[in-house]
Assembly symmetry: C2
Homo-oligomer: 457 residues x 2
């Protein structure tokens, strides 16, 4: 037994520190391709637990890797320098759903979908909806400033975090923000914690903003002759004064995979597919859906499926999920890159994806959040653990990310940097901005113990 | 002529540095009650100008007070330690309104209302709407993270800042964020700059998010027997699944002043007034307005005015503005405090305001943004420059702010801390959070030259 294990065991209640092989293994990875075991796993149960761990770790300069549900896509919580895997997964209580104040108070290990469901039961709404919402947790959502389809209308995670309790690297407990919906008290450190990927503090409680739940939703699924036509429809819808609650686009490669998986008849003709969701009062949604349908026809839609209520919407969303399954069904590994481009460059991005496919021989499937330019660009490779395949894929990724940066885009819209995008963060930020990051990091974590080995190192 | 004037004149083009009495005077104040002259005024015209000024100021440890339109309410830009008043008011160009990307690129001196108008011309919308939007500038809005009535539905300034160019205290130029609508590249330093009150950097350009402009608006103005009834209606509207674009409440004191100013008949009977604005497609707004009207009747509204379109809405908004004029018409000075409480405490706040009035003999008028608990609590005093009156008023403010903090509220929702709320910031933040502020400030501004003498000192 290591000293680290013994020391932490002495600090914390029984059963909260583990060096069991299985625990170390589980806490070595997330959903990305990197793996590195921690020396110990700590299962925190309270802010006080985290405070003790951080004070100890800071004194002894032990790396600390905070972890929620462990379903990140970029290796963000992988303990690349060993030390402590600090799991907040067992801090999973919804402490309060308060519609009078319009807040949900939750622990970081709460599954995002559970918060949505609990708010919904009272007629209220927590909008951020990452695709993984049934398994990801609020703590991880805060760490990566998670997004999702409905963020087009409703905004990403940071727009719903009114306050957080954070334990700093030195073990100070900071109560940032609060339960007020507007708050200009000092700097916005609450938002600074959003998207800081476990490098500036450990979130142990969060006060989330919830809003009235729209009465209903309706949706249209429309196919177009090609991606350009669908992208033009995206802009035309927005120009018409409609801000849909979701606006998702799918390219020809993905549709071909879906036809292969679901059967030719399961999908309408055309090489692009657009999903438009609107929400609001029942009467309004009905009426607006009808006029939107007429508008899409004008814009050249080949076939349109209408989903007039929430149950019907689910079918179209299921199709969206089936696109993912279809890609998996190809037997290839999907390197899912959540790049973003300025919206006017949607077509350029997809054209570049085609060129990349031709140049590298690696299939590229594009689909995602058209309204905000956040298109998941999936490189489909045979076996990423095979060195030769990996090198070829990494070269293709270099080409893709450089193209994105050269066209005013962002290397990540909602997954975070982690290890997966460490290679491009220098170019993405530039020297002076990287220096500012390092200065802030050093100010809050002088010994660099929180999530070391990631994008600042 | 001072060395400072000579040095800066040598660095910058002719006519951009002034020690003219009138310039010093204008740059000594904002809309609050503090006054202190700078040694020189610099009128920046470009990022390069600001870079030169900051490099010089950092080398020579000269305080720099950035200033936009100078219409802040808290003395935020008042140069309390002399030095340089750095005006960006002449950097007032709208560089781009790009609906394809959904962005407006602007210089910091642009008047907020001009951005709204320019976006509107193309059918797009920049929602943040501080009451001063015809005279305040984007730079100041960013410095204070400005709000306004429509922030209930649409969010405050920070939710519309996609990127900023910032010159740091040491003269580094940081390009933060960009024109993508989602961006998880590194820490969210763009938002950190929002609300940093000129203490972390000088914003020289901003990329704003714009959204499709709703087709129309409609509004109801409803009077209630008392404030409790109106506050109950606020919660009932939200509980019914409606998120209005604005939801404003007015108390009995303000209504009495308005009756005095506008005439008894200009206002419906009742001791509270509620304004509800919704927006969307024409048909939807019509229909929802009708059902909202029926709902307000059920909730006990005494009389309801309906404004079915934008032009009619203007009349109700004019009434809202007239409430302010009515208070001015009393001949008293309005100490406008933009406190916030958790929404469930709206009635408690207004009851406390009544008690405060009884206890101190100072009239208190409450009105503001009911939906987010941001109620402007106005202490009406005879002459704030009279020491005796000032002491009495300051004691009353102490009572108010302590009550707000003791009830989970925030000392400022949208005006900022500046000098006006410096007295309560320590209690509001608490020691560890204040320490974190100071650490970040020192990291980005090691010599403490940006806006010294404000809430961190």
């Amino acid at each position: 037994m290591s000293t680290l294990y013994q020391d932490l065991s002495a600090l914390l209640p029984d059963g909260q520190v583990s060096v069991a092989e299985q625990d170390l293994e589980v806490h070595s990875i997330d959903k990305w391709h990197a793996s590195a075991p921690p020396q110990v796993v700590v299962f925190a149960r309270s802010t006080e637990d985290v405070e003790k761990v951080m004070k100890y770790a800071n004194e002894h300069e032990v790396p600390v890797y905070t972890r929620g549900a462990g379903v990140g896509y970029v290796g963000g919580c992988v303990p690349v320098q060993g030390g402590i895997a600090l799991s907040v997964a067992k801090m999973d209580e919804i402490l309060e759903i308060n519609t009078g104040d319009g807040v949900a108070v939750v622990q970081p290990g709460v599954i995002t979908g559970h918060v949505q469901a609990a708010a919904r039961e009272k007629g209220w709404y927590y909008p951020p909806d990452p695709a993984s919402l049934k398994e990801c947790s609020i703590g991880g959502n805060i760490a990566t400033n998670a997004g999702g389809p409905r963020c087009l209308k409703y905004g990403v995670t940071k727009q719903y975090i009114l306050g957080v309790t954070v334990v700093t690297a030195t073990g100070e407990v900071l109560k940032l923000g609060g339960r007020c919906h507007k708050n200009k008290t000092g700097f916005d450190l609450t938002t600074l914690m959003c998207g800081s990927e476990g490098m500036l503090g450990v979130v142990t409680e969060a006060i989330l903003r919830i809003i009235p739940h729209p009465e209903t939703r309706g949706m249209l699924g429309a196919s177009f002759v090609d991606f350009s036509a669908a992208a033009a429809a995206v802009q035309a819808i927005l120009d018409s004064g409609v801000l849909p609650s979701a606006l998702e686009i799918t390219d020809a490669f993905t549709l071909a995979a879906a036809r292969d998986y679901l059967g030719e008849d399961a999908l309408p003709p055309g090489d692009a597919y657009l999903m438009v969701e609107i929400d609001g009062k029942v009467d309004s949604v009905q009426k607006e859906l009808a006029s939107l349908q007429a508008f899409l026809k004008e814009l050249g839609a080949l076939r349109i499926n209408e989903a007039p209520d929430e149950a019907a919407c689910e079918e179209i969303w299921q199709l969206r999920r089936d696109f993912s399954y279809s890609l998996k069904h190809t037997g290839l590994t999907k390197l899912n890159e959540d790049v973003v481009v300025p919206r006017s460059k949607l077509v350029d991005l997809v054209n570049y994806a085609r060129k990349l496919q031709e140049d590298t021989g690696i299939d590229v499937a594009c689909f995602g959040h058209a309204g905000d330019g956040n298109i998941h660009t999936n490189l489909m490779v045979k076996d990423y653990s095979d060195p030769e395949t990996k090198e070829k894929a990494d070269n293709a990724l270099d080409l893709l990310f450089n193209w994105v940066l050269d066209h005013g885009g962002a290397i990540t819209g909602e997954h975070g940097v982690g290890l997966a995008k460490k290679r491009w963060i220098g170019k993405a930020l530039g020297g002076p901005v990287m220096d500012a990051h390092c200065a802030i990091k050093a100010a809050l974590d002088p010994k660099g113990i929180l999530n070391p080995g990631k994008f600042l190192d």
